[in-house]
Amino acid sequence: MSEFSEKDVQRSVTELETKSASAARLFDVRRIIGLLFVVYGVIVTLCGIAPSDGSLDKSENVNINLWTGLAMLALGLFFLIWLKLRPTAPPPPPTGMEEQNPLGH
């Protein structure tokens, strides 16, 4: 029954980790969140700049488009600024697989 042991899993996953490309090539999600929310923020804020009476009545006299728009814009800018201040860590050197996995064996 013990054809698979912990060692098999450890070995194959450790081996795959050294070949994996995610750490080196995966883009930073902060850029996408920042972009989406800046776009959303601008569009929705524009809706809120000249609200119709009908839409204000509906939303309890709160200019909800303006406030939500500004909040989303702020969130988007937060992610872009965070990315600017602390950019993606450079990928570990590809030849350094021994150093990356000092415990793998």
Binding site: F27, I33, K58
Partner: protein
């Protein structure tokens, strides 16, 4: 305050602008898939993001995988029906389990380098436990993905007037595309996006809803007048023997929901655990559920308040005469309160939540089917590129199967809800087997399989025979759920211990890193640079979450 006139029709006045916002979201979703594509080189990249993601990303994905639309609409419905009792699903029914996963179980999961929850069972027990859990998980994942898709179709039909099949095909196609192309990284990144979009949808609804009913005080006053004081407390009427709409007392809430059901869901459901396994190191994996715990504590307000507001605005919600079901609480408020613009964001948030609920299941299904079923029992020892190709193929097939399930559900919705309840009982014995397997070296190789089987069967028998046939009297399905979970837990534990005493244990050298008190190389990993900062210490994060959740109970307890 006069009750608002009822609109039996839920159709939203969406205009071109709202559709534009939705279209932009779909573009981003696909964009994430294409951008993630070049990072997928090995099967580990495809199934576990190469174990390389930072903790805040996996943490938000962990919460998003749970924050599907069935959860959002369902918990709002729960609040409209049962009131403030909903907080139990969060503060006692999630936080302790998430903290336990992060602090106690994650070193075994992550340190043993398993790629899935069933794979851990294979190492700790034997092939029969592994195969049983893999196959059941695969079926359940497709079923839940299909149910998500079907619920999406119903909601979109009601809100936007699209025919059901259009919604099923469009949403199914987008999920298929971005997971097949970008793998788990793409699923996780989209979950992080979805987290923020759903917040942007729920916060305006909550704020405006509260304003409509006269703030929190106006809300509780109306509800107390209408439904009685217990409706706005967490524990009122939950004494043993006393009557409450939830049909549960404090003991079944604490043991059934808080311990058995929630630990089963949060610690052994691979759709959740997978997010943590994709973290870049042990510290990040431990912090994944702990980071998720903090938003989880507060999200309850964003689903509960809309539900309570709907109960005030439509006092007869849930009864046929109102034309609104409990599940319609949030869609109803969207139509009542949100002007075009924010309305588009809310529609996007809802659609995003449905897609994320489906995607979490598809991306865990393809992993279990490929690494646990195909690579271990059907085609062993192939090169890695083969399993990567197979993973993509099975993703396509899995999405097609869940689309088929969604179409089936539209014809046989009773059977579907029956099946869903059926599978829900599977997490309970999984948790028994894990907890005993992790803490008791003596638990034998075959005991895992028998514990799983006995626990599942007895929970089902309790629910479908003893409760449904009226042998014992439990006032509601929720209450019966809690009791069945406790029964399943106890039966699974008793059988496991009994079987272990008569069968041979697994040799101790094969248990290294799998059982409490043993070590594996992966577990002694020192914290990476920066991870030793005090605010990144798992113990501090975990205990803070517990204390915060307990403190949240105080204003709702007296």
């Amino acid at each position: 305050m006069p009750p608002t006139l009822l609109a039996a029709e839920l159709r939203l006045p969406a205009n071109w602008l709202d559709y534009c916002l939705l279209a932009i979201y779909f573009l981003f979703v696909l964009g994430v898939g294409f951008l993630a594509r070049k990072s997928v080189k090995t099967s580990l990249d495809f199934f576990l993001s190469g174990r390389s993601l930072p903790a805040w990303v996996t943490g938000l994905a962990f919460i998003s995988a749970n924050l599907g639309a069935t959860e959002v609409l369902g918990m709002a419905a729960n609040s409209a029906q049962y009131g403030v009792y909903t907080v139990h699903w969060y503060w006692i029914g999630a936080i302790p389990a998430m903290v336990f996963l992060g602090l106690v179980m994650m070193p075994f999961y992550y340190g043993s380098k398993v790629r899935s929850v069933p794979e851990f069972l294979l190492l700790r027990f034997d092939k029969s436990a592994h195969l049983l859990s893999s196959v059941l998980f695969a079926f359940a994942a497709i079923l839940i993905a299909g149910v998500n898709l079907y619920s999406l179709a119903i909601v979109v039909e009601a809100l936007l007037g699209w025919p059901e099949w259009v919604a099923i095909v469009v949403a199914g196609f987008f999920v298929l595309a971005y997971i097949t192309i970008g793998g788990l990284s793409s699923a996780i990144y989209n979950e992080v996006l979805q987290f923020f979009v759903i917040l942007a949808a729920l916060i305006p609804i909550t704020v405006l809803g509260l304003k409509r009913v006269g703030g929190w005080d106006g809300l509780t006053d109306s509800l107390t007048a209408q439904k009685g004081g217990d409706f706005v407390t967490a524990w009122g009427g939950t004494g043993i023997g006393s009557d409450n709409p939830l049909g549960a007392n404090w003991l079944t809430i604490v043991l059934g929901l808080g311990f058995v059901l929630s630990f089963g869901y949060w610690t052994t459901n691979f759709a959740e655990v997978q997010r943590a396994l994709s973290a870049k190191n042990l510290s990040a994996a431990q912090r994944t559920p702990l980071i998720a715990a903090f938003p989880k504590i507060f999200i309850v307000f964003l689903v509960m308040i809309p539900g309570l507001v709907a109960a005030v605005l439509v006092p007869k919600i849930g009864q046929a005469s109102s034309g609104l079901e409990y599940n319609d609480a949030i869609p109803y408020l969207m139509g009542q309160l949100l002007p075009n613009g924010v309305l588009g964001i809310a529609i996007t948030g809802l659609v995003a939540a449905f897609m994320a609920g489906m995607a979490a299941n598809v991306s865990s299904f393809n992993t279990v089917f490929t690494t646990d079923i195909w690579a271990k029992y059907v085609k062993r020892g192939q090169e890695d590129a083969y399993y990567l190709r197979f993973g993509r193929l099975i993703t396509v097939l899995g999405v097609l199967a869940s689309m088929g399930t969604a179409f089936l559900a539209s014809t046989f919705s009773n059977i579907m809800s029956y099946l869903q309840t059926l599978f829900s009982f599977f997490n309970v014995p999984m948790f028994v087997v894990f907890i005993i397997g992790m803490f008791w070296k003596r638990a034998s190789m075959v005991s895992g399989f028998w514990g799983l089987l006995a626990g599942t069967v007895s929970a089902m028998v309790n629910y479908f025979v003893i409760y449904k046939q009226g042998v014992i009297d439990i006032p509601s399905d929720q209450g019966a759920n809690f009791v069945s979970a406790i029964v399943g837990f106890v039966a699974g534990a008793v059988v496991m211990v009994a079987v272990s005493l008569f069968t041979k244990p697994k040799p101790i050298e094969e248990l290294q890193g799998l059982v409490y008190g043993t070590k594996s190389p992966g577990m002694s990993e020192p914290p990476a640079e920066g991870d030793d900062a005090w605010y990144r210490k798992p113990a501090l994060l975990g205990w803070s979450a517990i204390i915060l959740a307990a403190a949240c109970y105080i204003p709702f307890s007296f």
